[in-house]
C-alpha cells in the first residue's frame, strides 16, 4: 500500500484505491508471457470469421451487409467492458461457448435500440403479436428468432476459422439476455480471471446500410487456444472461406 506523504492534507471524501502491490506468486497470463504475438494473424482470423458471418446474415435477411474493419487486440480484463460501448450500455447479447480444438467464448451484440429493426426483418409481425412477453420485453417467437440468428452467426464465424486453421470449433446453444453490457460480459472476465490478466479479443461489426442495423461479434479465445489459433498455418489456397 502506498503511504501518504507527510504534510499533505487528506482530502475529505477522497476514495482510496487499494493497491494490490507488485504481482507475485504464480505467473499468469499466457498473453504476456509468450513471445510477441503476430496480431496480423488474429486480424486475418477476425476478418475471415466476420466475413462468413456477414454472408450468412445477409442470406437470412435478404439484404447486402457491409463489414466494418475487424480488429484484434489484447485488452486488460478491466477494459473488456469498454469494447462495445461501456458497461452501462443496454444491449441484446447472444452468448455462446466455443468447444473443440480451440476453446473460447463468442458474444454477438446488438444495441437495444436495434432490436425493433432486427426483429422486423426476421419475425412476421402477426406471429410476434400473438406470443407472450417473457419479461425481457420479448415474445417467445422473438426470443427464438434472436437465438437462431446468434446460432447462425456463430456457426458461420467458427466455420470460417475451422476452414482456415484445419481444426474443429463447435458452438454451444446460445444464451440470450437484454441487459447492460457490463452484466452480459461478467462471465467472460470470470472465466479468464483465474488464469490471466488480459483477454485477446477478435472483434468485427456488420452493418446493413439501408436500415442502419449494426451487430458486433466478439470472439475471446481461451488462453489455452492461442497456440492453435496463433501457431497453426493458414491452409494454402483458403483465400475465401466457404459459406454456411
Amino acid at each position: 500500500m502506498k503511504a501518504r506523504r507527510g504534510g499533505r492534507p487528506k482530502r475529505r471524501g477522497a476514495a482510496r484505491r487499494v493497491r494490490a502491490g507488485r504481482p507475485r506468486g504464480r505467473r499468469r497470463a499466457a498473453l504476456r508471457d509468450g513471445p510477441a504475438r503476430d496480431m496480423t494473424r488474429f486480424h486475418a482470423l477476425s476478418e475471415a470469421g466476420a466475413r462468413n458471418a456477414a454472408t450468412a446474415l445477409s442470406q437470412i435477411l435478404g439484404r447486402p451487409l457491409r463489414l466494418s474493419v475487424p480488429w484484434a487486440r489484447v485488452l486488460p480484463l478491466e477494459k473488456v467492458k469498454e469494447m462495445a460501448g461501456g458497461p452501462s450500455r443496454v444491449v441484446c447479447a447472444l452468448s455462446l461457448k466455443v468447444y473443440g480444438e480451440a476453446r473460447g467464448s463468442l458474444l454477438v451484440v446488438f444495441g437495444r435500440e436495434q432490436l425493433p429493426i432486427l426483429l422486423d426483418m426476421v419475425v412476421p409481425a402477426a406471429w410476434a403479436a400473438r406470443s407472450r412477453d417473457d419479461g425481457q420485453g420479448l415474445s417467445a417467437m422473438e426470443r427464438s428468432a434472436l437465438m437462431e440468428i446468434g446460432n447462425i452467426l456463430a456457426c458461420a464465424y467458427l466455420n470460417a476459422l475451422s476452414h482456415l486453421l484445419g481444426v474443429s470449433l463447435l458452438p454451444s446453444i446460445p444464451g440470450l439476455a437484454v441487459d447492460m453490457l457490463g452484466a452480459v460480459t461478467d462471465h467472460l472476465l470470470i472465466e479468464l480471471a483465474a488464469i490471466s490478466d488480459s483477454a485477446l479479443v477478435l472483434a468485427s461489426q456488420v452493418v446493413e446500410p439501408a436500415s442502419g442495423l449494426k451487430g458486433s461479434i466478439f470472439f475471446l479465445p481461451h488462453p489455452s487456444a492461442l497456440t492453435v489459433l496463433g501457431g497453426e498455418p493458414i491452409r494454402p489456397g483458403a483465400s475465401r472461406p466457404a459459406g454456411p
Partner: protein, 160 residues
C-alpha cells in the same frame, strides 16, 4: 464535493463521506459494500471469483476472501471500528441459461456464497442482500448515509 468513483471488475476502493462508489452493469460478479455508520467510512469491492488460485497474492479485489479482508483492513485505517462494520451484498446473477433446468450452482451463486462466508468469518453483520436472479444491476453506495441504491434495466431502482 461528493466524489464519485466507478469500480471496474476486480477493483476495490475505500472512502469516507461524502463519496459514492458505484458499479455499472453487475452480472454474475458480486458487489460487497461495508460501512461504519458512526465514522461514515466504508468500502466496496467488485468481486469475480470466490478465492485466489494457489500461490497467487495479487489482484486482491478480484476474490471474495482477499477483498473482504483487504476492505476491513483499509476501512480500519480510515478510522472504522471493526465491531461497527455492516455489510450489504448484491449481484451474483445468472445472466444466461445455457443449461436451463439443471440445478447446478452458477458462478454467481458461488461468488455470493463465498462473500457471505468471508463476511461472517470476519465478524461483519450482513444487513441487506439483493442477489441472484437473471438481471444486471447498477449499484451506488453512498458513504454519506450507508445506503445502497440498486438499479436494473427492467425494474427501476430500489434502496437497501
Amino acid at each position: 464535493m461528493t466524489r464519485h468513483r466507478s469500480l471496474s471488475a476486480g477493483e476495490l476502493r475505500v472512502a469516507e463521506a461524502p463519496a459514492r462508489l458505484s458499479i455499472h452493469g453487475l452480472g454474475s460478479c458480486v458487489a460487497v459494500f461495508i460501512y461504519d455508520p458512526a465514522k461514515r467510512v466504508g468500502g466496496m469491492a467488485h468481486i469475480l471469483l470466490p478465492g485466489p488460485p494457489r500461490d497467487s497474492t495479487d489482484h486482491v479485489g478480484r476474490y471474495a476472501t482477499t477483498a473482504v479482508a483487504a476492505m476491513v483492513d483499509e476501512t480500519i485505517r480510515l478510522g472504522a471500528k471493526p465491531a461497527a462494520l455492516l455489510a450489504k451484498v448484491t449481484g451474483g446473477s445468472r445472466m444466461f441459461a445455457y443449461d436451463a433446468g439443471k440445478e447446478r450452482p452458477t458462478v454467481g451463486d458461488k461468488n455470493v456464497e463465498a462473500v457471505l462466508r468471508a463476511l461472517r468469518e470476519a465478524g461483519i453483520e450482513i444487513i441487506a442482500t439483493d442477489v441472484g436472479g437473471d438481471h444486471g444491476r447498477t449499484v451506488v453506495a453512498d458513504l454519506q448515509d450507508g445506503s445502497l441504491t440498486i438499479m436494473t434495466v427492467r425494474g427501476g431502482s430500489k434502496v437497501v
